[in-house]
Symmetry: C2
Subunit: 721 residues, 2 copies
């Protein structure tokens, strides 16, 4: 299944569909809004790194001028699905090539009919190029008018980020718009060329902020009118003269067929390294490919100063901010299929080390404390106060930016995972090691000696399960910090051996005295954790004393347990947003025996809000279930994750793609059902556990420069190539 | 001086000039931005009552689509003062007629020169009609292009309030735009007709949200091109079909000369009743007329559901919210010169009684507690939290909405003042009395018996001097409440005699039992106030114990003492934002002897932040100084108020007209220098005290239906007619 299809027009699902029909090229993405517009659409194009200040949310990706804008007027009647009659409709996103196509047969209120076909893509071959083609087959003789515009009138849910600077028409007919973000001062230039038949009269409408090319055709019934619109796009982040750059890329686009061929070629290469096929389950087959596609179009390829937001570039949710979602949920796909992209994403964390150090320092700690929400600079951009859901005049405090300290260890974990999978020693020596060391420094600094417990721990934190805040000794946080400290010590030892000069430099620069290293050792050794004799880990101090809850009692429900209990209330119950302890065991798999995982799985699974809690939970739940051999249950969690966007099971897909879930879907297939395990030494093994109805699962992965294709069968057999 | 002139173009004063060149007609106002635009202009049109939700500030007047939008293109070069050469420039606002005229001689970068004259007004004869004329006298033979638009791309400092609904061209050539506020759902329709010479080619550019009429002229050097643009405007607050209404008013506009003649005629009538003339002081003469003009164009004439914001309709400051500024500072002008407008403004308070009652009830009190900041519904719209000036991630609490209780008595005071001046018993019986009674009910409910003091008082309030919050027994608050309670008791007695049925109805409906009335009497009698034997009133409990301060020590300064001390710091000093106690003595003049006023004047004057404190202070200070016979000092305060906007002495005129100051300027001239005193029985006397250099002061006022013209001379003589 390569085609995501919408066989009929469903206006009530408008925002959901806009999200899933997003196209992009790692530089920008454009939501699947209609070229001609539709009432209340959330049309948006987000460009990596183009952030601007915003109240409450600190900073957000500015919704760029609309390059789609195309009005079609049939003998004076404006084409719109909000009027007239839709006689036929089909929309298709071809995941193989990233091309979106919509074919509509429409009859105007006055009775003029035409078939209109829009095709668009964001070029993966040239990230500064966007292409749109419009084909009109009128069923009448008369006048057909096209108005192709760059529409600078875009906003972020009511907030304006742009102030136009200049616009006009260049000597070669190219129309341009230059505009600038209001606070951050990033300049954006868009250039447009519209090619149609020679019979058209073309007029430039030089209207402020909406430069438009109007074309008038004398149309004949049955004779297609084909118009191609190329748009060049560049910002002052790319070049001091973005207009010149955008113009150059526009000029380089010679024609539709050539641009499309280049697109197909580059995408074919992309799929060669990361495709997954599932035979016997079309929904799963499409969903995993869709998940990969969404991450591929969101992943920056040439710019290490940006990261993937929790909602990719596909919606207004989370404002383009990046979370641990990148490192723990999305990165494995890239590490194991597209390591160049993975390195680019980790470079972002390296480049934002200064901000992470500043955050730690401001809180009174040494080392690097990454921002819970990170945008362009790496500064903490988690909102501190948000309007209260129930009373807009009141405010609710958001604590994650202050208390979610596990982010630093998450980043270090991803760095090591990348290193192990790629064997990229040069990068690790140059950049990765410093991240692991400086996050360890923070872990040690933030740890407190708890006299009453006789161990080191972390008080007043939030773990992955955000239903409980201000908790002490969250197991995930503590044990990942422990891992981080040990990884740092091993890193230093390794550096001493393999890059002694770098080791010396880092010892000096990061003040890694023997006393400090000894302290790391001690903190790691004496890290608090509450484990029962049979291996049950308490999520945090006192969790088992909270009121127990039977989530089944609340079914059927359409709200999270957080909304049902309220912020205060949720803290009093054992209901959790995501399987905090299972996450930990998944990441540190080799530390736990199967029986230890089983006891935790059995305890936490019924207490987890799988349906409306975190979308990060289900894929991990699926993997752990696979490891437990509960494949049917695993499939249930997996398919819930797979449907997060395609079926909008959480009702919020309109805000953008659930990127962590998409990354988790890939992990669930490869690490869960496929049973791939990669060991620290670079060796790997496979233990397939396919759902009953899957006839075949094929996936690829790249390890230390070599790409493998694995095909698994229901009986547990597999082949590699 | 009828002409406010700007003899040369001063781009650095752009926002200041936009404010003072605001035109309006009581229905809407439009800031003096240029028709063709200018970088970073704050172009805005505000329509009374067209509020929309906004974060933090709760609700704000939505900046309406721009009706000025006119681009002029000379042989391909766009006219803009930001390019080319300004060869001559003059802008004039004719206060006599409300017509704004700008004449520019400009040379394009390529050397084409032309004189361009823009003339605009908002019709006072037809509040739904706006008129703009553009005269172009080219100095070259070539093509002159005009693009006349309704530009729906307007925002409130980055926040978008509008979502366009429809646009197009009607059969008669009228261009229209229908748009709607995003949250409050108010529909606005604008219609446009552009008339020029028959030689023009006119094309309709149907660009989304910017419907534009393009006209192309073959121009000859020296031959003027004259284009008239009429715009009709109406909202769903006026009519269920605003487009139809806006179209009707546009159709009614037959031509420029006719519309201008109507404008001149209506304005002439307006000035007949309220003009003030000062001979020997051109600056003062212009300033007082300018102040009156700004209040006249902001005052609603046909809609009792709206009020005048603290910055009129001329800027983004205070978001169109109304404060006590209306009742205490602006209303006297209307009460004594345009009582129909005064009544309309008081009707707003009557119609928002339900919201005032709800506010009191929500706080646990009976009666009517008016909102400190009031918009469309009368609900409290004071922001509760605003971003901290020094650290945007932090928030500062705004307390006025919770603690400034004197607003209720201020409203009651204005109601009584209107009644006394007009003798409008019918209105008082029907509406005014209920306000006075229900605010008194609140005053009694909010008062606490302070056992240690043995009196009734108000703890935890903010008085007019906002440098001190959370104070107890603010003298202004206490004594105006005392006045309110007594006025209510007198009102009831008067109603018993003159409108017994209404009295009975109100007794019943407001639950005015004998016990309650007795309680009012007691609270009023035993109201706490700290007065020294010589009459010095302590502004609030403990004020005299605060650190004293010599404001001269901080000169020269360009910041308020609030900014210098900080919010906490300001609470520790005797520095005050405005003369709280003097305000009280001004309002309750007959309660105090001259010597009592003198002692307070001498104490508080040197402790008041006259320059950067409240702009409400100087005019009151001027009046009290006049009453003390300190005319030279009075003039100093008066001229400071007179310059608040014209010279932008506080540096914030760009945010809009200081409406209270404008009202205070009129009061300072009439009640201060003119020495008019009106007594409760409707009798009045005059005691002129003109500044030395004034040769003559003439003012008009209307009392109980009769209009008087008073002419005062420096020697204290005066004539009335």
């Amino acid at each position: 299944m390569w085609i995501l299809a919408e066989p009929s027009f469903e206006p009530t699902k408008q925002h959901h569909k806009e999200t899933i029909f997003t196209i992009g090229n790692g530089y920008l993405s454009t939501r699947g809004a209609f070229e001609e517009g539709y009432p209340n659409d959330r049309r948006a194009t987000f460009i990596h790194g183009v952030f601007d200040d915003a109240p409450i949310v600190v900073t957000e990706l500015a919704n760029a001028p609309d390059w789609l804008a195309t009005q079609i007027v049939l003998d004076g009647e404006k084409f719109s699905l909000a009027s007239g009659t839709v006689l036929a409709y089909r929309r298709e996103l071809d995941l193989r090539t990233g091309v979106l196509r919509r074919e509509v047969r429409w009859q105007s209120p006055q009775g003029r009919a035409a078939t209109i076909i829009f095709t668009r893509f964001a070029s993966l071959a040239d990230q500064h190029l966007l292409a749109l083609r419009c084909e009109i087959i009128p069923e009448f003789d008369g006048q057909v008018e096209l108005r192709s515009a760059i529409n600078g009138q875009t906003d972020n849910e009511g907030l304006l980020h742009w102030r136009p600077i200049a616009q006009g028409q260049l000597a070669d007919g190219t129309v341009f718009l230059r505009t600038r973000t209001r606070k951050s001062g990033i300049e954006l230039a868009l250039t447009m060329r519209v090619s149609g038949s020679d019979t058209a009269t073309t007029t430039f409408w030089d209207v402020e902020n909406v430069p438009t090319l109007q074309q008038v055709y004398q149309a004949q019934a049955g004779v297609p009118i084909v118009v191609t619109k190329f748009v060049g796009v560049a910002t002052s982040r790319d070049d001091a003269n973005p207009l010149e750059l955008a113009h150059r890329h526009l000029q380089a686009a010679t024609g539709w067929d050539e641009a499309l061929a280049a697109q197909q070629q580059v995408w074919a290469k992309e799929w060669e390294r990361c495709n997954v096929e599932i035979e016997g389950d079309e929904e799963a087959d499409l969903a995993v490919r869709f998940s990969i596609f969404q991450l591929l179009i969101a992943a920056p390829r040439h710019d290490p100063r940006v990261n993937i937001g929790a909602k990719t570039l596909s919606g207004f949710g989370y404002r383009g901010h990046a979370f641990w979602d990148t490192e723990i949920f999305m990165l494995p796909l890239f590490i194991y299929t597209a390591p160049d992209i993975a390195r680019n994403l980790l470079d972002y964390r390296y480049l934002t080390l200064p901000a992470a150090r500043a955050k730690a320092r401001a809180a009174g700690y040494e080392g690097a404390w990454y921002a819970w929400e990170s945008a362009d600079s790496g500064e903490e951009v988690t909102p501190t106060w948000v309007p209260d859901f129930h009373d807009k005049k009141k405010l609710a405090r958001v604590w994650t930016g202050d208390l979610a300290i596990h982010i630093s260890s998450d980043v270090a974990y991803a760095v090591q995972q990348y290193w192990q999978a790629t064997g990229d020693d040069a990068w690790y020596i140059e950049r990765g090691a410093e991240i692991v060391l400086d996050t360890a420094k923070f872990c040690a600094a933030r740890a407190e000696w708890l006299n009453d417990r006789g161990c080191y721990g972390y008080t007043d934190v939030i773990g992955p399960d955000e239903y409980h805040d201000h908790v002490n000794n969250n197991a995930y946080t503590n044990l990942l910090a422990q891992w981080n400290l040990r990884a740092a010590l091993e890193t230093l030892a390794w550096l001493d051996q393999h890059a002694p000069q770098k080791a010396a430099e880092l010892r000096q620069r990061l003040d890694l005295t023997p006393e400090r290293l000894q302290h790391w050792q001690t903190v790691a050794e004496k890290m608090c954790v509450n484990v029962s004799p049979d291996g049950l880990i308490e999520q945090f101090d006192g969790f088992f004393k909270l009121k127990d809850v039977n989530l089944a009692d609340y079914e059927p429900r359409t709200k999270s347990m957080h909304e049902i209990f309220g912020i205060e209330g949720a803290n009093e119950y054992q209901a959790i947003k995501q399987p905090d302890v299972l996450m930990l065991q998944y990441l540190l798999r080799e530390h736990y025996s199967d029986s230890q995982i089983r006891v935790n799985y059995n305890y936490y699974t019924p207490r987890t809000d799988h349906t409306y809690g975190s979308s990060l939970g289900p894929p991990i739940q699926a993997i752990v279930a696979c490891q437990m051999g509960d494949v049917a249950e695993a499939y249930e969690h997996f398919i819930r994750a797979a449907r997060a966007d395609l079926r909008d099971v959480r009702g919020n897909a309109g805000d953008g793609i659930h990127a962590a879930s998409a990354g988790g879907v890939w992990q669930a297939v490869v690490f869960g059902f496929g049973g791939l395990r990669v060991h620290p030494d670079g060796s790997w093994d496979i233990q397939p556990r396919l759902p009953q109805h899957w006839q075949r699962l094929t996936f690829r992965f790249t390890l230390r420069g070599k790409t493998y294709t694995v095909t698994c069968y229901p009986d547990g057999r597999y082949t590699t190539a």
